[in-house]
């Protein structure tokens, strides 16, 4: 297991433990690549549901991306709106600061958000717009925080963008408001985006154990709520190394201890809850967590029984981003599934060493993207299924390989104890589908010719 509490030992950078993947890989020209820093920053901040998110750039960045994340909100929906300055040629030549001023004013006067995030894009970074200046001036004029997010696509990978978004949270937001009340059991969840409502599972478990979430960073988050994150007793960095830097900074400045954990799989869930309880320093909460974990694990193991039987010994190739690459492994192992291949393309060296802890050399590491590589692994390791995200789904289906979507577009929550049960059901459901029988057999006329031979 990971060290429980950091003492500031971990740096914001990627570290340099090597095996089979270089940390924070630079994008390689000529490959089918993943998202950019703008994308990373946007997906980190967009779950702050009551804020307006304004993309300062040409239509590209927003026109191709708005409303395509699965982060759910329990209330406000403003962040689902696509706001962009939609720059044209004239704006590039003569500058677009005035357009940005007007856009911000329009949004604040019509939508009255608690804050506006303004995203730099490649173009506005290159043309040298003074976005920080505009934001500052408009914040003062309007009395609404207007927050610049300086993460243009070309600075690097998606992962870097999430880190930059973490800096924005730390510099501009955290510490800007005060909670109405605090308890000694307040935890922040950092890097949990409430995909398919997963956070609601976690929140319930925490409530049952007598703990509460002070700030959701940022899944189902609210702007004011992120502002008072500095009053928490502990930070949990959920499934995202990208925001680890934020936790480190908060520990240094506010003395809030943090730990890294995951909610995929029963073991990881129990472990995460225990860590939280430990950091609250309340023996009573710890006891409640122990009871809860014991009860849930017992219940789960009974309910999982029929599914485990069907999944035992099945082989999977896992190709997903960052931290899910290791945390989902544990969940799959608990179901009796053998992970025979794993993508490390978007994982940091730390992630890779965690993968190694869990599967050692039994599996093939797929360091580079590209459908061919994934498919080769599936074939050579005789995998029964691929577990990955939308961009790889259709190529798996072309090869008639059962596929389970684990990324942001899915509609099922897999976190927590109930989530593991959902995942088990989904896997069984997928593997059982009659279409695989159809694909496994030849068409009748092809069979006949075989007999004829």
């Amino acid at each position: 297991m990971e060290p429980a509490v950091s003492n500031g030992r971990l740096e914001v950078s990627c570290g340099n433990k090597i095996p089979k993947s270089t940390p924070c890989p630079r994008p390689v020209p000529g490959e089918a690549s993943g998202g950019c820093s703008f994308d990373g920053a946007q997906i980190t901040l967009i779950p702050i549901a009551d804020a307006a998110h304004l993309v300062h750039g040409p239509i590209a960045c927003l026109g191709n991306s708005w409303e395509s994340r699965g982060s759910l909100s329990s209330g406000p929906e403003l962040s689902a709106y696509g706001f962009t300055t939609d720059l044209g040629e004239q704006d590039i030549i003569f500058g677009s600061e005035q357009k940005l001023h007007e856009s911000i004013r329009y949004i604040v006067s019509r939508f009255a958000p608690p804050a506006v995030f303004v995203y730099t894009t490649c173009v506005t970074a290159l043309t040298g717009e003074d976005i920080e200046g505009v934001c500052k001036a408009e914040s003062e004029r309007l009395g609404t925080p207007i927050i610049p997010v300086n993460s243009p696509g070309f600075v690097g990978s998606k992962n870097l963008g999430t880190r930059l978004a973490g800096d924005v949270l730390f510099q501009h937001i955290i510490g800007s408001t005060e909670p109405e009340q605090t308890t000694s059991h307040d935890i922040n969840l950092i890097g949990e985006y409430n995909i398919a409502g997963e956070m609601w599972h976690i929140e319930r478990l925490m409530q049952q154990a007598g703990m509460s979430i002070l700030s959701r960073i940022t899944g189902d988050g609210r702007f004011r709520e992120v502002g008072w994150a500095h009053r928490a007793k502990a930070n949990m960095v959920v499934c995202s190394r990208a925001l680890l830097g934020l936790a480190v900074q908060m520990e240094r400045k506010y003395g809030i201890p943090y730990f890294e954990g995951s909610f995929y799989g029963a073991k990881e869930t129990s472990y995460s809850l225990r860590q939280m309880a430990y950091l609250t320093g309340d023996r009573d909460v710890e006891r409640r967590v122990d009871k809860l974990a014991a009860r849930e694990e017992m219940r789960l193991s009974l309910e999982l029984e029929p599914y485990r039987k069907q999944l035992k010994g099945k082989r999977a190739v896992l190709y997903t981003g960052g931290v899910k690459s290791w945390s989902v492994i544990t969940a799959l192992q608990e179901l009796g599934i053998k992970v025979v291949g794993v993508g490390t393309n978007k994982s940091t060296a730390e992630d890779v060493s965690r993968i190694a802890d869990r599967i050692g050399d039994d599996a093939e590491y797929i360091p580079e993207g590209g459908a061919r590589q994934i498919l080769k692994t599936v074939r050579s390791r005789k995998a029964d299924m691929v577990i990955a995200g939308g961009r790889n789904m259709y190529m798996a289906l072309k090869e008639q390989i059962p596929f389970v979507d684990i990324n942001q577009e899915r509609h099922k929550a897999y976190a927590g104890y109930d989530g593991l049960l959902s995942l088990a059901k989904q896997l069984v459901h997928t593997l059982q589908h009659p279409v695989w029988e159809l694909t496994a057999k030849l068409a009748p006329w092809e069979e006949e010719t075989e007999f004829a031979d």
Binding site: G30, A32, S33, D39, P58, A60, G75, E102, W200, H429
Partner: protein, 509 residues
């Protein structure tokens, strides 16, 4: 059958009491406004006053209904055999294009990026381009690489033609590999202009490379262009109709097989497309027929000027009259009679329209989409006795407005319509509240406004992310008219049933 696991998605899961209570508790601090205030504000946003303020907006776009140039360029590139779309710029754009197209077609989308970073921004992206070409040839073995730019490369002023020449000089790019390229900054035009720019470049590059001289009319074949078309079914329908004529033809830019390939058990990067050697031959064709205009301006201009082609272009042929025109054009260009079977098909579709006319007659419609599609939709709605009321075209220009207005004037059913080019879906929302309609027609992005206005959305156009397989059915031609008619009338019947009180819940409709 084995025991079926009961899996609930988040729709059902989070309706359970325990989660509902959890969210209610949370709401206590997050919504300081009273429910009355929320309702009042919501009502205010539906007023004329708000609409005026909304339409006075100049600086910001809210809920855009267009994508950018390189997305169209990728689609154009995938219309050709063994062609790899190659995007010069920072890497995120490429990921967006791949997801965007994959979500619409439910197919894998090959495309690579030069992954420019900060140093490229300072020193130029030549190294990225050359290294990128070397890598992608090694990884994906394309026969043609179609390069387009993103706004970043355009802003720093990268010179593609010089870079590609250098790549050839360095020996990275084989002499004989065609590399069409197009400048496609997102700060001008939209996905349809990008489609046009890339298609033109492909035709020009392959034609020049062949060293031939166009001999228009030398061949009996027709050139057929479908433009930026989100319907793979349209390609099949076009082939079927041309086949019935007995016409020979070349489809220039046929992305249908790349976006609708079979699950054969083996994934390939390249499933089809127009063969490269067919392109120079197309310069000798008897004539060119295009069923989009706004997305093919430069391409058709090139074919007219350089190839001396006889070009006929119409907007997306939706409905009866537009299909009539299409068949007349095919007949004229190919010198063949309109086949009897298509005439019978027309009669059958007209019959179907009569069967359903009562339910469609007088229905007021709002629509948003690309210019060619909208011209087609307006025409079809008028034929169906539906009344187009709000027409929003984010990437429309003055010429589109004029054409749309002329078409609307041709029928009493078009009397109430207003055409809004350059506007977005937030404008559309105001229109829907200020002057309510019965139906909305457009891409998936329109679903939010339609839901608020409590009207059904008929999904037509691009992108359609939230319904399956619509793109596999043609919407052009008589058969396409039947498909759209089926979708339209049955949606209206669904709504009627949903709203029907017991005494009107009829068996026969």
């Amino acid at each position: 059958m084995s025991e079926r696991p009961n899996i609930v998605d988040h729709n059902q899961l989070f309706r359970q009491d325990k989660y509902v209570r959890q969210r209610e508790e949370k709401r206590a601090f997050e919504a300081p406004c009273s429910p009355e205030e929320v309702t009042d504000t919501l009502e205010y946003t539906k007023t004329k006053e708000y609409k005026d303020k909304n339409f006075a907006r100049t600086a910001v776009v809210v809920n855009p209904a267009k994508a950018c140039q390189p997305l169209g360029a990728v689609m154009a590139a995938l219309g050709f055999e063994k062609t790899l779309p190659f995007i010069h710029g920072s890497q995120g754009c490429t990921a967006y294009f791949r997801s965007h197209l994959a979500r619409h077609f439910k197919e894998p989308v090959p495309a690579v990026s030069t992954s420019m970073t900060e140093d490229a921004a300072v020193f130029g992206g030549m190294r990225n381009l050359i290294d990128g070409i070397e890598n992608c040839i090694a990884l994906y073995q394309p026969e043609m690489i179609a390069v387009c730019t993103t706004c970043m490369a355009e802003v720093i002023g990268d010179d593609l033609s010089a870079f590609l020449a250098n790549a050839r000089q360095e020996g990275v790019l084989p002499e004989d590999m065609p590399v069409p390229f197009a400048n496609t900054p997102s700060f001008s035009g939209s996905h349809i202009t990008g489609y046009d720019a890339m298609l033109r470049s492909v035709l020009e590059t392959l034609y020049n490379k062949s060293g031939r001289t166009a001999q228009p009319g030398h061949e009996l074949k027709l050139n057929v262009l479908l433009g930026f078309d989100g319907y793979t079914g349209n390609f099949a329908e076009m082939r079927r109709m041309l086949g019935m004529f007995g016409a020979t033809y070349t489809i220039l830019g046929d992305h249908s097989s790349n976006f609708d390939s079979g699950a054969t058990g083996e994934y390939s990067y390249y499933y089809g497309g127009t063969p490269l050697e067919d392109v120079p031959k197309a310069a000798d064709a008897a004539g060119t027929l295009a069923i989009q205009q706004y997305s093919l301006r430069k391409t058709l201009g090139y074919m007219k000027q350089t190839w001396g082609q006889q070009v006929s272009s119409i907007s997306t042929p939706l409905g009866i009259r537009a299909t009539d025109r299409l068949l007349e054009e095919i007949s004229r260009l190919s010198g063949r009679e309109i086949p009897e079977a298509l005439k019978q098909e027309r009669a059958r579709i007209v019959d179907a329209m009569m069967d359903s006319h009562a339910y469609l007659h007088g229905k007021r419609v709002a629509m948003a989409g690309d210019p060619d599609m909208l011209i087609g939709l307006i025409g079809f709605c008028l034929e169906l006795g539906m009344e187009p009321v709000h027409i929003v075209c984010s990437n429309g220009d003055r010429k589109f407005e004029k054409e749309a207005e002329l078409l609307l004037k041709s029928s009493p059913y078009g009397a109430e319509a207003t055409v809004h080019s350059g506007q977005d879906l937030w404008h559309m929302r105001s229109l829907l509240f200020q002057d309510p309609v019965d139906l909305a027609i457009g891409s998936s992005h329109l679903k939010f406004a339609a839901k608020e206005a409590e009207i059904p959305l008929l999904r037509v156009g691009f992108p359609i992310f939230d319904r399956h397989h619509l793109h596999r059915y043609p919407i052009i031609g008589y058969q396409g008219a039947l498909n759209l008619l089926t979708q339209f009338v049955n949606t209206i019947l669904d709504v009627m049933e949903e709203q029907a009180p017991d005494h009107s819940f009829d068996l026969v409709r």
